[in-house]
Amino acid sequence: MPSQRLELSEGEYLDIEETLSANARGRAFLRMRDQRSRLVGVAEVRRLVRDLKEMLPELTAGKDTREDGQVHILREELKEMSAYINQARREIAALRPTDGGANRIMAATGELDAIVSATERATSDILNGAERIQELASKLPRDGEAGAIAEEIQAQVTEVLTACSFQDITGQRTTKVVNALRYIEQRVNSMIGIWGVDETAPPLPANPLDTRPDAYLMNGPAADGGPSQDDVDALFEKLGDPAALSAATKPDASPLPPAAAKPGAPVSTQNEIDALFGAAQ
C-alpha cells in the first residue's frame, strides 16, 4: 500500500519556518534551501530554452509548409480566375461575329428602328383617313339630324387624332431602348478592344452621351402609373408661389408633397398644378 505524502498546512509551514529562524543554524539552513531552489529554477529555465532551440527548426519547417499551402491555394484561385476571364472574353467576342450584318445587338437596334418607321407610316395613314373623314363630315348639313351626326363624327375624329399621339410616346420609348442597346454595343466593343480579342474593333466615340444641357431631365414617357395631367397641374399650381418655386429649385429643399419631393418621383395632382397659374385655369 503506497504511503501517503504528508502535506503541511500554511500555518504549520509558517510555524516551522519561524522555529528555524529563531537560531543561527536554522537561518543558515533556510538560506541554503533558498539558494538551491533558485539553482533548480535556473536549471529548469535553461532546460526549457534548450528544448525550444531544438524545436525551433522543426517549427520553422512547419510554417514553410503552411505558407506553401497558401501559395498553392492562391495559385489555384488565380488560375480559376484566369480561366473565367478567358471564358468571358470568348463570350463577349461571340457577341460580335465577323459578319457585321449578323451582329445581334445591331440587329435588335435595326428591328426597333423598323418598328418606329412602321408605326410612323401607320399613324400617317390613320391621320390621312381621319382628316378625310373630317373633310367629308364638314360637307354635311349643319342642322337637323345630319348636323348632329356631323358633330359626332368630328368629335370621334378628334379622339382618333389625339390617340395617334401614341406614336410620339412609343417612338420616345423605343429611342431610349435603342440608345441603351447602342451603349451596350459600345461597351462590348471597348472590352473586345482592351482585351485584344479583335484588333479591328472600332474606337469608342469621343463622347457618346447626350450633351444637351438639360439631358439629365429628359427621361421620356413615364411608365404605367406615372403622373397624369392632373398631377402635373397640381404641382404647377403649387409652384405658382414664388417662394415655393424658389425652394423647389434648391437642391436641398422642396415645397412639394413628400411623395413628389424626390427627383424622379411622380408629381402630385392636376388640381394642385392648375393652382400654380391661379384662377385662370
Binding site: E120, T123, S124, L127, E131, Q134, Q154, T158, E159, L161, T162, A163, C164, S165, F166, Q167, D168, I169, G171, Q172, R212, P213, D214, L217, M218, N219, G220, P221, A222, G226, P227, S228, Q229, D231, V232, D233, L235, F236, L239, L245, A248, T249, S254, L256, A260, A261, K262, P263, G264, A265, P266, V267, I273, D274, L276, F277, A280, Q281
Partner: protein
C-alpha cells in the same frame, strides 16, 4: 387682335405631333399655325415674325424645348410670348425646371383636345 387670330408656332420634332396639334388648333379656331422641328428653328421663326403663342415639345435636338424656352425668355423682344410646354416628361423636376424657366403652362402627353383648349384659354384668356 382676337386670340383666335393670333399666330401660333408649334415646335415638335415628330411630324405626327405637329400634324395632330395643327389639326386640333384648327378645330379650336386657330387658322394661323406654323411649325418648327426643334428649338433652334423655332427661335428663328419667332425672330422673323410675331407669334401670339408657342406650343413646344421638350425632348428635341439639337436645341431642347427647355433651352428654347430659356432663349425666348432671355430675348427682350420675345420674352413676353406665351409659351406652353407639351411633353411626355412629367416628373417633378421637369415641371419645376420648366416653371423656373418661365413656362406659361404645361401639358403632359398623351393629352386630349379638351386639355389643350383649356390650357390655351388659361394662358390667352377666352377664345
Amino acid at each position: 387682335m382676337r386670340n383666335l387670330e393670333k399666330h401660333v408656332l408649334v415646335v415638335d420634332d415628330y411630324n405626327t405631333m405637329r400634324r395632330i396639334l395643327r389639326n386640333l388648333l384648327s378645330q379650336i379656331g386657330f387658322s394661323n399655325v406654323e411649325e418648327a422641328e426643334d428649338g433652334g428653328s423655332g427661335l428663328r421663326k419667332l425672330r422673323e415674325r410675331s407669334f401670339g403663342l408657342v406650343i413646344s415639345d421638350w425632348n428635341m435636338a439639337p436645341m431642347s424645348g427647355l433651352e428654347f424656352l430659356k432663349e425666348v425668355r432671355s430675348d427682350g423682344q420675345l420674352k413676353e410670348t406665351p409659351f406652353i410646354m407639351i411633353t411626355a416628361e412629367s416628373k417633378t423636376e421637369n415641371v419645376v425646371a420648366a416653371k423656373a424657366a418661365g413656362v406659361s403652362n404645361y401639358i403632359v402627353k398623351p393629352f386630349n383636345a379638351d386639355t389643350l383648349k383649356k390650357k390655351i384659354e388659361a394662358v390667352l384668356g377666352d377664345l
